[in-house]
Symmetry: C2
Subunit: 99 residues, 2 copies
Amino acid sequence: DVTLINLFEVPPGREAETLEAWGAARTFLSGEPGYIDTTLHRALDPEARYTFINVAHWESAEDFTRAIRRMHAAGVFPQIEGVVINPALYRAMRRDGAE
Amino acid sequence: DVTLINLFEVPPGREAETLEAWGAARTFLSGEPGYIDTTLHRALDPEARYTFINVAHWESAEDFTRAIRRMHAAGVFPQIEGVVINPALYRAMRRDGAE
């Protein structure tokens, strides 16, 4: 599988809107083929560059790309003023620890 | 628990050194109180801004901060020319999916 790591730059005061849009996107994407799971993280430091980081798992890069295209076509994840998203696909290389 | 997400900016040709340093850091940190697990991810796109992203879990922010201080004191994670690390602590907010 592949890991989607999306870094959210969110100006002060836009957190609630961003969370709402993220929730709508998750609802749409979780119904798409190849979706596995997703976890949204919030920075402990309010000054952090990336206020939210989403880490999601998909069966394949193709599944993810197709689902995102369908999501945008359905207009589910609106652009929010000042919010910059930085999605990129990764592959887990080294895993270690108590799992 | 808390999630450490560390974003690695790695100039071309420095990947192997960075992986070696990451491996040494993981060996040190995995022996520290409060360590849970860690997963290193590599970008599928070689042009990605962050070549590696490490996602680790710790019992608490204090455990993590103490362990990092001890690691640097032991000189385990040397500075590699051109490599920029961007560590920040997060808390998982929303979890969803097949788990």
